[in-house]
């Protein structure tokens, strides 16, 4: 079996948002939408800090679809548009998506974005990888683990562009892979484990 995933080293993450924009570019994500965001843990403001000056800490948390093994979004999808593919990636069949947004409400990670209107690209043209299908008004979208790239042996664009090598892509079912070794780190954790979603994406610190 194959279980593709990304492991993120939170110490190496400098909050630069390169992954967010690399994803936006690769996947032709329209104006005002991001599949991949970088949050500052427990802060309203990006680059905020926890605590009271000068007793402060800060953790950036890049956040996109966690590609859960027990995906809440998939369970609530009434049409089967959301599915888990043969490589363990949670995908959306855009043709089956009816825009009910049940998945959006179900996802505890707030990882899905919806085309409330016709997608706008201020440049007036599509950008990104030409293999990525376009989406229309009424369709849900989210991180696909760069399906078009990873299907052909490339790593996701967020991993490819990360300036600090904070992101590791690979197959969790291969015990010798770099990502599996990273997953065995003591600090490895999944987000909101109590939800029982069993994310593939994990974080180390």
């Amino acid at each position: 079996m194959t279980k593709l995933a990304i492991g993120i080293d939170l110490h190496r993450c400098i909050g630069c948002n390169t992954c967010a924009l690399a994803c936006k570019m690769q996947n032709n994500v329209p104006d005002g939408m991001l599949w991949n965001r970088v949050l500052t843990e427990n802060c309203e403001l990006f680059d905020g800090a926890e605590g009271t000056y000068p007793h402060l800490t800060r953790t950036y948390v890049p956040l996109a679809c966690q590609h859960c093994s027990n995906a809440a979004c998939q369970r609530v999808c009434p049409t089967g548009a959301t599915y888990t593919d043969e490589k363990g990636r949670v995908q959306i069949d855009y043709q089956k998506c009816i825009g009910c947004r049940m998945c959006m409400a179900a996802c505890p990670y707030n990882a899905r974005v919806f085309n409330w209107n016709d997608p706008v690209r201020s440049t007036g043209a599509n950008w990104g990888d030409g293999r990525v299908p376009t989406r229309e008004k009424g369709m849900m979208e989210k991180c696909t683990l760069c399906k078009e790239r990873t299907d052909t042996g490339d790593e996701p664009m967020c991993v490819h562009c990360c300036p600090t090598d904070a992101r590791v892509f690979g197959d969790l079912d291969d015990p010798d892979s770099e990502i599996s070794q990273l997953e065995r780190s003591e600090s490895a954790q999944r987000l909101l484990e109590s939800k029982g979603t069993r994310p593939a994406v994990f974080y180390v610190s």
Partner: protein
């Protein structure tokens, strides 16, 4: 001005430590559709081509980029594959260009102003009319006032990659002292000659060999973004990072230890460390005796060095120089003997009589001079615990240690040179200069020791820019210049106190701007020209450069967008109207070949064709090892030793660094009653100065705002998201307030400079301090503008 913040609002969520509240989703939905989206289906491979360039050079990362062009439009920008992973880089700024070069801020056609300055009223004109107008005005100004009355200045951002020629051809002024970025350099350059005083003599890749790296006002992870890997890898290897910053900056958050000193007090922190190191005997006695000027004798009253002076000649320039033979006190014979006397045992400390006069060693003077800087004084001045000063001093002295300074923070204070001088002093004192894992200077962008000597375009003998005796900081106060052309927004980026700058602009007979984007100064000039972005060329090549141990080519990715021209063709166009076009290369290819004509063996055999085949970059021959040989202990200083004692600064009381308050933002300043907040502006990852201000993708993750500590906001009745006016006696600007515990109380923080259209048509340099430190005029890099040595107050707009 709207109070609401736009863009991708992110809800407060905690993912790591608690389950976090559900609901209140913060993901952005699609924003209102008001621009027609291209209906074309994306199709793999159809009409796709690859192009190569490098970008951004203004942040000095010089990322080598592989660009995908589809149907004639930029579709993707990725890092160009590189065998050396350290040079396979990109960040959000490079990626954002996919939208930005087509964005709403782009200048699209030549325009002349039709309304009042600042009105934004323009009419489109042809390139022919633009060139004609510029040529007529340039000629009139130079005929009336002299050639040097015209000033043509380039910013890194809006100029392409070929060295400019127009100022040389016209004999106009082109330069001038910077007035920024070199304040600490002014203070450290003299100790380790022949060092250039800014970039360190070794590279960031040597950091794993240091036990400690002090990041002195270096927000490395934002301002040297792609080189953050150097810090993180060293940290993984065990190097400890100590970050000095009043704000809990992104770099402070990644460091092992944070020193949250009061803004403008970096010199005090280092002076306190120096005193502690002396008192605790933590200095490197062997190093100090062998490799520094500390044992040299100085007049106990005047501070002048005891030396024999003989006339000599500079071996490189042939110019006459004074050769000095310094004296030390030989403990063996009890007499002053020339430095270097064989068999002598120089005394490190003591007071001695030579020919009836009293002399002390520099080291003894150091102990005296450092007396005031006790731990308690330092703690009070820097507003930090005394134990923190002692702790950092102990770690630094143990070494091997490095001081990495940035060019923000203290560099934008009136006492910046004192800070740099302190770095040189403490490094000399503790043996943290010269050997592996030690050093000081700028490391953030310093990733290779290699620099190729490239060719250039030959102009007729004697054709050169007029000397530029003044910095822009003085030019704006005088009347020596009557006409100006800026490539990029020089006036709002290189000068403080915008209203003074505006008065100067008003005084000019003619001023024009060539820029890629509608930057802040655009509405204040007479004529505007649209410049190509770094992805556009009329020719197959738009520039050649040496950086990152490579020769980089700015190859054509796109044809010029809209009606833009590269700065090369703008210069050439003006020159042609003035009858001087024949002095220019015919095109980019000819210019590129001239630059590649060199006998430097590092680029032997490099041609334009080979650069094109290689995807725009060739590694310099023999540049594999990015760690330089040990700097060592031979110096071109007068004594041949490390010389932290600056005899030339005796008249300023700064032979050894001495504490000097910031010129405005010091705690006791009575002005604090009106303007209690120190205003800290600094570069962020989201822009390079004002560049990328209009990049919509970056706006989706970060919008311009000023930050206050919540306690300061509460005291003013201000709330997160308020539209506020920031003001002092010099002027004001408007922006949005955000609250952040990371900001030091009694200060305000703002990522520096954005276009005025994003600040409610105001300019943040309206408040910044333009008061120069007179000492700067005798220092190598001239005086520095104390942008951050500024006091302000903040109130709600309309109150």
């Amino acid at each position: 001005m709207e109070n609401a913040m736009k863009g991708t609002a992110l809800s407060r969520r905690s993912f790591l430590k608690t389950a976090g509240a559900l609901g209140a989703l913060g993901a952005a939905g699609a924003i209102g559709a008001n621009l027609a989206a291209g209906p074309a289906e994306a199709q793999s491979g159809a009409g796709e081509a690859k192009g190569y360039t490098y970008h951004n050079e203004h942040c000095l990362c010089n990322c080598m980029l592989e660009c995908t062009v589809r149907d004639g439009r930029l579709a993707m920008v990725q890092p160009r594959p590189n065998e050396d992973h350290r040079f396979q880089n990109i960040c959000l700024k490079g990626i954002s260009e996919v939208e930005n070069i087509y964005g709403e801020a782009r200048l699209q056609r030549p325009m002349k102003r039709t309304g009042e300055r600042g009105s934004g009223q323009f009419e489109a004109i042809s390139w022919d009319e633009a060139f004609q107008t510029i040529a007529e005005n340039f000629k009139a100004i130079q005929d009336k006032y002299g050639k040097e009355a015209l000033w043509i200045q380039f910013s890194t951002e809006a100029s392409q990659r070929f060295p400019p020629l127009l100022a040389s051809v016209l004999g106009a002024q082109a330069g001038g002292m910077n007035g920024y970025d070199m304040g600490q350099g002014n203070g450290q350059i003299m100790a380790f000659s022949p060092w250039i005083g800014m970039f360190a003599q070794n590279t960031i890749w040597e950091w794993p060999e240091a036990a400690v790296v002090i990041l002195a006002n270096t927000n490395l992870v934002e301002t040297s973004l792609t080189w953050s890997r150097g810090m993180l890898d060293a940290q993984k290897a065990g190097t400890k990072f100590i970050c000095l910053d009043p704000r809990f900056s992104p770099t402070a958050g990644k460091a092992d230890q944070w020193v949250n000193l009061r803004a403008g007090t970096d010199p005090a922190f280092f002076l306190g460390m120096t005193k502690y190191i002396l008192d605790q005997d933590l200095f490197d006695r062997e190093h100090v005796t062998a490799h520094t000027s500390f044992p040299l004798l100085i007049d106990s009253e005047t501070g002048a060095c005891l030396a024999d002076v003989t006339p000599g000649t500079n071996p490189e320039t042939g110019e006459p120089v004074e050769l000095k033979t310094f004296y030390v006190w030989d403990e063996a014979t009890g007499a002053a003997v020339p430095q270097g006397t064989e068999g002598a045992t120089p005394a490190l400390e003591g007071e001695f009589t030579v020919n009836g006069k009293r002399y002390v060693t520099q080291f003894t003077r150091l102990r005296e001079d450092m007396e005031p800087y006790t731990l308690d004084w330092t703690a009070e001045t820097c507003d930090i615990p005394a134990s923190l000063v002692a702790d950092v001093a102990t770690q630094y002295a143990k070494g091997p240690s490095i001081i990495d300074n940035g060019v923000g923070g203290i560099d934008k204070f009136g006492n910046n040179d004192v800070a740099g001088h302190c770095y040189a002093l403490i490094a000399s004192l503790t043996g943290n200069y010269g050997k592996r894992g030690t050093g000081c200077g700028i490391y953030g962008y310093h990733v290779t020791p290699y620099e190729a000597h490239l060719g250039g375009w030959a102009l007729p003998e004697g054709m050169a820019p007029a000397p530029s005796p003044q910095g822009f900081y003085d030019m704006v106060k005088g009347n020596s210049v009557h006409g100006a052309m800026f490539f990029g927004d020089i006036p709002t980026q290189k000068a403080a106190n915008w209203n003074k700058t505006l008065e100067w602009l008003d005084s000019l007979d003619f001023v024009c701007l060539a820029d890629i984007y509608h930057s802040s100064v655009t509405d204040f000039v007479d004529l505007v020209l649209p410049v190509c972005s770094k992805f556009e060329c009329a020719d197959s090549v738009g520039g050649i450069k040496c950086a990152n141990a490579h020769i980089l080519a700015n190859l054509k990715v796109l044809d010029p967008l809209f009606e833009s021209k590269s700065d090369f063709y703008i210069e050439k166009g003006i020159a042609e109207v003035m009858g001087l076009g024949n002095l220019f290369p015919a095109n980019g290819e000819e210019y590129a070949r001239a630059i590649l004509t060199t006998d430097d063996p590092q680029v032997a055999g490099f041609t334009l064709e080979k650069l094109q085949e290689a995807g725009g970059a060739l590694r310099l021959i023999g540049s594999e090892d990015l760690i330089v040989p040990e700097v060592g202990f031979n110096y071109a200083t007068a004594s041949g030793k490390q010389e932290p004692y600056y005899e030339a600064l005796l008249e300023f009381g700064q032979a050894f660094p001495a504490w000097e308050s910031p010129c405005e933002a010091y705690p006791e300043n009575p002005l604090r009653e009106k303007y209690p907040l120190q205003f800290n502006q600094a570069r962020s990852r989201f822009r390079v100065h004002s560049a990328y201000s209009g990049a919509k993708w970056i706006q989706e993750v970060a919008e311009p705002h000023i930050e206050l500590n919540p306690a300061d906001a509460l005291a003013r009745g201000l709330a997160d998201g308020d539209a506020v006016e920031v003001f002092n006696d010099r002027g004001s600007f408007r922006t949005v307030l955000r609250l952040n515990e990371a900001v030091r109380p009694e200060s305000a923080f703002m990522a520096e400079s954005t276009y005025r259209q994003y600040l409610d048509d105001t300019i943040m340099q309206a408040v910044s301090n333009d008061q120069l430190n007179e000492r700067g005029y005798v220092l190598p890099f001239g005086p520095m503008i104390p942008f951050n040595d500024t006091l302000i107050e903040i109130k709600k707009v309309g109150e």
